[in-house]
């Protein structure tokens, strides 16, 4: 049971944020996600075998960072809504409070670690009774019968805790890129040529827009559409080129995204 993997991989999103902000002295929103991903992949490569827990934790961290960045970077029509402004501050203060908590215990852990190391230098005497007194000791099996032994065996062989996947961080919105692709295949031939902005103007949730965008990329990859962006920051034009003969058989492989 290799329950401890020693790597310098960050222990969680808070740990990562603390490191980035305190040690690297950077603005969270300046960090290139690609850099973090690269650093992680290097660490994971160093591991003898793939540890599912560490890799999933990494995905969680990456997702958290993407979420934080998205909150800042995606267009928001209510940019100047005071309530939103306040809730952003509130959210930030909450995050800072949690980061401070995290840092407090990180530092406390160092002290525990030192105590552990010092205590490990001393080995307790455990020899116990010598044979002169062993007979005196009460029979430990007094009152234990064979059914107790059987019960103890079953207890010992029963997993203590069923490992579960935490879904705390998953919101209830669930949009599938596959579904979005199907919708687009239905809509796009009718438009022929349409801007991404126009295509998504009816959508409210940011996640839906993002999923739409991923679906567009997927269709581009499969050759159903051409993309054109005449100017920087300009609208993305989507041009339908796919022939009806092309099937959408490959869509089964497209992931569902949880927001």
């Amino acid at each position: 049971m290799p329950y401890e993997v020693q790597t310098s991989v960050f222990e969680g999103p808070f740990d990562l944020l603390l490191h980035l902000i305190l040690r690297e002295q950077v603005d969270l929103y300046e960090i290139s996600l690609a850099r973090i991903v690269d650093a992680y992949l290097v660490e994971i490569d160093k591991m003898d075998r793939v540890d599912l827990e560490i890799t999933t934790e990494f995905l969680l961290i990456a997702a958290t960072l993407v979420e934080l960045k998205c909150k800042r970077l995606l267009p928001d029509d209510t940019d100047f809504d005071l309530d939103d402004e306040f809730s952003l501050w509130e959210e930030r203060d909450l995050l800072i409070a949690r980061l401070l908590d995290c840092k407090t215990f990180k530092d406390a852990a160092h002290v525990l670690s030192d105590l552990f190391d010092n205590a490990a230098l001393c080995v307790p005497r455990r020899a116990g009774l010598d044979e002169r007194y062993l007979e005196l000791a009460p029979d430990l099996l007094e009152g234990v019968d064979i059914d107790d032994v059987r019960a103890a065996y079953i207890r010992a062989m029963t997993p203590k805790l069923v490992p579960t996947v935490s879904i705390e961080h998953i919101h209830s919105v669930r949009v599938s890129v596959g579904e979005a692709v199907e919708e687009l295949i239905d809509e796009l031939p009718r438009f022929g040529r349409v801007s991404f902005r126009r295509l998504t103007e009816s959508l409210v949730e940011r996640l839906e827009i993002v999923v739409r965008f991923l679906a567009v990329l997927e269709l581009f990859k499969q050759g159903f559409i051409e993309l054109d962006q005449p100017a920087s920051f300009g609208d993305i034009e989507i041009i339908w080129v796919g022939s009806p003969a092309l099937g959408v058989a490959d869509l089964a492989g497209i992931d569902t995204y949880d927001g």
Partner: protein, 220 residues
Amino acid sequence: MSADNKRALEAIIMVADTPVPTEMLSQLTSLAADRVDALLAELAGEYAAEQRGFQLVRVAGGWRYQSHPDQAPYIEQFVLEGQSAKLSAAALETLAIVAYKQPISRAQIASIRGVSVDSVVRTLEQRGYIGEVARDPGPGQAVMFGTTPEFLMKMGLDSLSQLPSIADFVPGADVVEALEIGLRVDSAEAELRFAEEALAEGSQSVRPSLGDLLDGDGKG
């Protein structure tokens, strides 16, 4: 006679395989508990003065003999088995949270650490450092964890009160300030820089998205 009493205490602790609580020693020797502790402190002092290779110490509320820390190199050669693997940073942090915030539930630990702590908690439980000490009376009846006597023994502490105060670890104003700057809400500049970076990186035809998405008010 205090010499006789000391001899009895030495003998009992020598044959015990776990720390012997003061109360038990007091009962066996018919001495007051504080008298027992005083005599044992005297003995511990004698061993120290005689530069013995062992110590008499009080851990987890009881007295035990242990090897002197400066003899660790010899002991390490001798005791190969039973050396427990070092705890990971995650385990130590979780242990610190439990030690200072007990009783505490798994969910509460997770919310402080920001990640799922199931496996780390299980590891600490298996090692015997933490255990269920209560149930949350609220709905769900979550298991509340606390540290065990085994934890105190591993830390060489007599009681939890010997842990340094948590106040010593609360981050200073500089950290708070750094966090506030790092997470500042108003950062239009950064947004701009990010957008530029994305454009510089990106091949326009395939990934025209970022520039577009970033551009809030649609001006080219």
